[in-house]
Symmetry: C2
Subunit: 348 residues, 2 copies
DNA sequence: CTGTTAGCGCGTTCAA
DNA sequence: TTGAACGCGCTAACAG
């Protein structure tokens, strides 16, 4: 039983059941189920008995279509992406699809290599999560790959920003940040600062721009020095905050363009002897799980990350494949927690 | 260019280059590279020009071996598993392998289904992360599947507990917890409590047992009521802590069997009006990223999660496949942070 | 070194 | 309804 051997093939099942391979195929997979019930039963039984499992690769070759969806993330250990991945996996599972995953590690070149490898797998769809970059020299090559993939019947879904020739699940970054700014002004914020990830990423651009708009609509503005760019990570939030405070020590409210950065910034604040949520208000974006477990709990913009991944799959397997590219806008909402208490206004 | 079409096949490349398919195959893949340099170059060029990408499924069928590693996790959104997955992906990437991922959602039945699906993919290896359960009725069926997979040339690596008929990457749960207990006693802990995940999971068993040992070796003991079992999650930590404190209000030091639980427990403490790291010490296990960002920063046992995933892949692609099952023990270390200050001993 | 032939495991025509 | 034959894209054995 446990001697080295080869997997059971459909042919062996067929022979053991005394039918042809074609019949066995129909009985087990039954694309158009036209096989007598007793035969079907007999074949199924011998298949079970022999422990037959269809060879997905062979099926893919024969059918010319696989049952795989390929997903690119920047970093699976980042809660932002792991939440998206969780949603994708749920959706894929419901659809009987297999998920293959690769991490681009924030490097456009890797992203390109990954997409090439993915194309070799002939997946049904490729889902790209992660922000688009502006003026990325690799972008053209990447688009070319995706275009080619799409032109051979593959589906491309971006969890990113429109406009795009492909389907896009797009988070309302700008609107979310704008609403957040309004809320923070309402709560008494007067001197604002921003710690943001690289501005070449559209996500950061939009969040900063939206926040700015929100401030202006509320009659407040942002000093030039009050926007600090750093790595789009926890450590970036840490260093970014230090830079910000050294430049503009009198800020009372800080917006970090992601929760991950905000959490790093909060730690930095404490290391500077200040108490986040008391000395200085701070808010993030995304509402990752950890946001409610840090102290103070973090005010943020809720992004339904898992849901976005789930919807991306749904878009990908949409039967109406010939339709025009679709943009699925995902709305956000602001959730106020302890990190942004109501501040008393300094008397004018 | 962007009209619907089929992917370029090796045959088309061969024809365009004026060589046979076999030659084209050798030129591009070159298992045993014995093809004249100029031909190789010409074929490669036409392949690039045509945008040819090998069909991995077809290769897998022809070779009888795929270039895929399949990974089972409980929940990819859990930082414990996403860290492991990150390591796996890095290792797979280095080896030119594709990673397929599935989430069992803490359900043994799902795990079984996933392994079956994975077997259909004929991956080179299946990596199972997540603790083994004791007395799991599905365990036999699962082992049967894995056994069958292994007997047909597949490699199985468990990130779990020995003993096992397969390769195992095993974290020193017991030893780590034991050392943690010693450290906590040294720092003045006297009345201990434990919030643990389900005891059917070996991970929790080992961590609790190890902690107990460490206490006993330090001349301390644990009251019966002081061990509370709850869900192995953030929320489990939250509810578990409340139960614990209602049963044994006078505990001064708490061990949660994972950082995720510890973080939930800390939040629960605060909701009860107590300050973690002051009124009550608390420590976790795993050292997930968040451990250093909560307040107070969390004392814990460092588990090199990403490294474990990485090593699991290395084991899986070990050329010496015929060797006996191997156990790779992974050591831990205790890192003391703010959540467990030195406590003054109550005078005896 | 190259081309021809025979598979790999499976789906799907086409007759029977 | 069933089976024989062919094809999917590719690799590997065998000749030349």
């Amino acid at each position: 039983m446990s001697a080295k051997g080869q997997p059971v093939t459909l042919g062996e099942v067929a022979k053991a059941a005394g039918v042809s391979i074609a019949t066995a195929s129909r009985a087990i997979n039954g694309s158009t189920r036209r096989v007598s019930e007793d035969i079907r039963k007999r074949v199924q039984e011998t298949a079970d008995r022999l422990g037959y499992l269809p060879n997905l690769s062979a099926q893919a070759v024969a059918k010319g279509a696989s049952s795989t969806v390929a997903v690119v993330v920047s970093d699976i250990a980042d809660p932002f992406f792991s939440a998206i991945a969780a949603g994708v996996m749920r959706g894929a599972n419901e659809a009987g699809l297999v998920v293959t995953l690769a991490a681009a590690d924030h490097t456009p070149q890797n992203e390109l290599d990954i997409v090439r490898t993915f194309r070799s797998q002939r997946p049904r769809a490729i889902i790209l999560s992660g922000s688009r970059s502006v003026a990325d020299p690799n972008q053209a090559l990447l688009d070319e790959q995706l275009e080619a993939f799409a032109s051979t019947g593959g589906k491309v879904v971006l969890i990113s920003q429109s406009p795009s020739p492909f389907d896009v699940v797009e988070l309302a970054n700008r609107e979310g940040a704008r609403e957040l700014a309004r809320v923070l002004v309402e709560r008494g914020g007067q001197r604002f600062g921003i710690v943001t990830g690289p501005q070449r990423l559209m996500t950061n651009r939009d969040r900063v721009a939206g926040f700015r708009e929100g401030l202006e609509e509320s009659g407040t503005s942002l000093e030039t020095d009050a926007v600090v760019e750093a790595e789009f990570s926890r450590d970036g939030g840490y260093t970014g905050l230090r830079t910000l405070l050294s430049r503009v020590p009198e800020v009372d409210t800080i917006f970090a363009t992601s929760d991950v950065m905000a959490i790093g910034a909060m730690t930095a604040l404490r290391d500077l002897g200040k108490t986040p949520g008391k000395d200085i208000s701070i808010a993030g974006f995304d509402d990752i799980d950890t946001a409610r477990d840090v102290t103070p709990t973090l005010t943020t913009v809720v992004a339904p990350l898992a849901d976005m991944g789930y919807r991306a799959v749904k878009l990908a397997i949409d039967p109406d494949a010939a339709r025009d590219p679709q943009v699925l806008k995902v709305n956000t909402s602001v959730i106020v927690r302890e990190s942004t208490p109501v501040r008393e206004r300094a008397s004018a």
